[in-house]
Amino acid sequence: MAAIGLTHFLVVSLLVFLAGMFCVLTRRNAIGILMGVELILNSANINYLAFARYSSGNYDGQMFAIFVIMLAAAEAAIGLAIVLGIYQTFHTIDVDATDTLRL
């Protein structure tokens, strides 16, 4: 069995991404969609760190990963605030019910 290399990280990242994508596409619950988005973001983080470790010699990848985490925190805050707003207006967080902008 070979030592753990770049490919292993990329496979993990792909699995996480697909799980997130699946979650986003199938959930009708707004919170579930937000969770899926978090998974997608973290799969991107794994990619950054893996490429940073195995390709270049500098810390650019790590820097971007920190930015993404920060961005994810902000996104979660705003997303949850929107979800709360939706719940107050529609008394549900089912995204299929919030189609009043449709003509």
Binding site: L25, R28, V95, D96, T98, D99, T100, L101, R102
Partner: protein, 692 residues
């Protein structure tokens, strides 16, 4: 001669105040009168109105004394204000000229005018538009003074029109009654006819003088240069004859002679002081003044002088006959004024200009007194003017009565009153210049004058009072402000004759001598010479004989009036019924002259109006409506193009957008999952496309 005249002129600067003071009064009262009357009362208005006229009188007296102190041949004062019109060869200045003739006129205008102003403060006292009356009266005084003091034809014309305007405004002073307003319009329109003649005459005169190389409208220069145009012709007639006839047309309008006299009797609609000032003493004499002023021109046209004499005599007689039948006290005096103006024109026509101007002056005194006396009566009778409802008034109004009688004696030609001196002189001049028929007509008019004036006195002041009981109780003598002017005027009416006491009565004809430097001596002079051929003694005999005849005939008129209206030995009805009453009715209805004008001039004008209206409504309106129709059709086509082509394109774009928008709208589902699917599929599609 031209140069000489100019050297003889003395320049002064006070003459302008004679003219400007009344203007100042008119402006102050005209613009601020309503406020002043409300704030300070009618006394302030009276003060503001009378002071300028009395001030002007003071300046007039000063000017007169100044003239008297100068040698007779150079008696001209000139007050040059400013250059007015200087265009090409036409040079007209605003300048006032005082010479013996205008001195007489301004003394009459400001003197008699001042008395009438004072009288008006009493007569108009209860009128709410008190200030307006005095503003007009001052404006009239200003215009009349401009007329007589202006040193050229144009300035005279300004005054000429100005007095016409004020006359119009004052005749219609009580304009809320239709009859008064229309009387004002009638006066103005009839005067316009005359003014047209006057203007044409002025133009022709200027034209002729320009042809002669001396374009001028200044009186002093006209006098010098008119001999140059004596031989000129207009359409086969002598130019001077055409010019003077046109100017005489103007005089017939302003001075109410045949055929333009019709406005003056109607002008009695105005307040009585106005009748006295404008329609007896001053404005109506403007025509006489104008002829005297241009006497140098008129003597060159003997044919015109004959026309003037005949028209004057006809008017004198004609108006006197109407005067005998009228029952309105002011109408009698109005026709009397027309008749007396006729006498003045007889004098003018006979070439005796000074005598005519003298009659103008004495007439101003006694006729102003008569009118103001009648005003006093009307005031006492609560604006009753019908003499049939008067009678016996001397009991209540002794001062009015006596002043009235004195003036009546003057106008009737009773010896040694002013009217006798002036009228007798006119008749003598008419006779001695060979106008025998004119003299005869004048004599008859004089007899009728004596008759109708005493008829007036008997009907108004003598006998029993025929007014109703209520009116009788309120009859009273007028206040001092009204009786004082009456007394002064009556005094002048009685004594003014001494100013021109004739040679035949051992006088000096001072008035005629005073005017001699200004006036020409026309036909009378030559004819006088022919009478003179019989010897000095024979002339005097004839003059005495004529004097006796005219006195006798005046007395006859008075006795007839006394017999009919005083002692009633002769019933007026028997006189009226002569010839089946037809004569009486014709005269009573003023010979139907108004009806004649109504039928010809007025209806002719109305017919022309109707023709114009028809032309307007059918031809002009047809053209207008036709062009409107064409425009409407063009714009209809335009509208259709706009509606279907232009709007169609705009609407087409809009509906196409709407159609495609409706299709594309389906994409917007509002479902987040659907959007995500699209995004993912698109990304996958893009990646696949990249790889391939």
């Amino acid at each position: 001669m031209h140069e000489m005249t100019h050297e003889a002129i003395t320049a002064v600067s006070y003459l302008r105040w004679v003219v400007l003071l009344p203007l100042l009064g008119a402006v102050v009262n005209g613009l601020g009168g309503a406020w002043i009357q409300k704030r300070f009362g009618k006394g302030a208005i009276s003060f503001l109105a009378c002071t300028p006229v009395l001030g002007a009188f003071a300046f007039a007296v000063a000017g007169f004394l100044h003239l008297r102190s100068m040698p007779a041949e150079s008696r001209v004062l000139l007050d040059h204000l400013f250059a007015w019109i200087h265009v090409g060869s036409l040079n007209v200045d605003v300048a006032f000229q005082l010479d013996p003739l205008s001195a007489v006129m301004i003394l009459i205008v400001t003197g008699v005018g001042g008395l009438i102003h004072i009288y008006s403060t009493g007569y108009m006292h209860d009128d709410p538009a008190y200030w307006r009356f005095f503003a007009y009266l001052n404006l009239f005084t200003f215009a009349m003074l401009t007329l007589v003091l202006g040193d050229n034809m144009l300035l005279m014309f300004v005054g000429w029109e100005g007095v016409g305007l004020c006359s119009y405004a004052l005749i219609g002073f009580w304009y809320s009654e239709w009859a008064n307003a229309s009387a004002g319009s009638k006066a103005f329109i009839v005067n316009r006819v005359g003014d047209f003649g006057f203007m044409l005459g002025t133009f022709l005169l200027f034209w002729s003088l320009s042809d002669a190389g001396h374009p001028t409208l200044v009186f002093r220069e006209i006098v010098d240069y008119v001999p140059l145009i004596e031989g000129y012709q207009f359409g086969g007639f002598a130019a001077v004859t055409v010019i003077t006839l046109l100017m005489f047309v103007g005089a017939t309008g302003k001075s109410a002679q045949i055929p333009l006299f019709v406005w003056l009797p109607d002008a009695m609609a105005g307040p009585t002081p106005v009748s006295a000032l404008i329609h007896a003493a001053t404005m109506v004499t403007a025509g006489v003044y104008m002829i005297a002023r241009l006497s140098a021109l008129f003597v060159l046209a003997p044919a015109t002088l004959d026309v003037i004499a005949v028209i004057g005599a006809a008017t004198a007689l004609f108006a006197a006959t109407i005067g005998t039948t009228q029952n309105d006290i002011k109408k009698v005096l109005a026709y009397s004024t027309v008749s007396q103006l006729g006498f003045m024109f007889i004098a003018m026509g006979a070439g005796a200009f000074a005598v005519g101007v003298f009659h103008l002056m004495t007439h101003a005194f006694f006729k102003a007194c008569l009118f103001l006396g009648s005003g006093s009566v009307i005031h006492a009778m609560h604006h009753e003017q019908d003499m049939r409802k008067m009678g016996g008034l001397k009991k209540w109004m002794p001062q009015t009565y006596w002043t009235f009688v004195i003036s009546t004696l003057a106008i009737a030609g009773i010896p040694f009153f002013s009217g006798f001196i002036s009228k007798d002189e006119i008749l003598w001049k008419a006779y001695s210049s060979g106008h025998t028929f004119v003299w005869l007509a004048g004599l008859c008019a004089a007899a009728l004058t004596a008759f109708y004036m005493f008829r007036l006195v008997y009907m108004t002041f003598e006998g029993e009072c025929r007014a109703d009981h209520h009116t009788q109780e309120h009859i009273h003598e007028s206040p001092l402000s009204m009786t004082a002017p009456l007394m002064i005027l009556a005094f002048l009416a009685a004594t003014a004759g001494v100013l021109n006491w004739p040679h035949a009565l051992f006088g000096g004809s001072a008035f005629s001598n005073w005017l001699a430097p200004v006036l020409e001596h026309g036909g009378a002079h030559d004819a006088h010479a022919t009478v003179h051929a019989g010897g000095e003694h024979a002339v005097e005999t004839i003059e005495y004989a004529l004097m006796v005849v005219s006195v006798a005939i005046a007395l006859a008129g008075i006795f007839v009036a006394r017999a009919v209206y005083g002692t009633k030995t002769l019933s007026p009805d028997t006189v009226a019924d002569l010839a089946g009453g037809k004569i009486y009715r014709t005269v009573y209805n003023k010979y139907y002259v108004d009806e004649l004008y109504e039928a010809t001039v007025v209806n002719g004008t109305l017919a022309l109006t109707r023709l114009s209206a028809w032309f307007d409504s059918n031809i002009i309106d047809g053209i207008v409506n036709g062009s409107a129709l064409v425009v409407r059709m063009v714009s209809w086509v335009n509208g259709q193009f706009d509606k279907y082509v232009v709007d169609g394109m705009v609407n087409g774009v809009a509906s196409a957008t709407s159609f495609f928008g409706g299709r594309v709208r389906r994409l917007q589902t509002g479902s987040i999952n659907a959007y995500l699917y699209v995004i993912v599929l698109a990304v996958i599609g893009a990646m696949v496309a990249q790889v391939l």
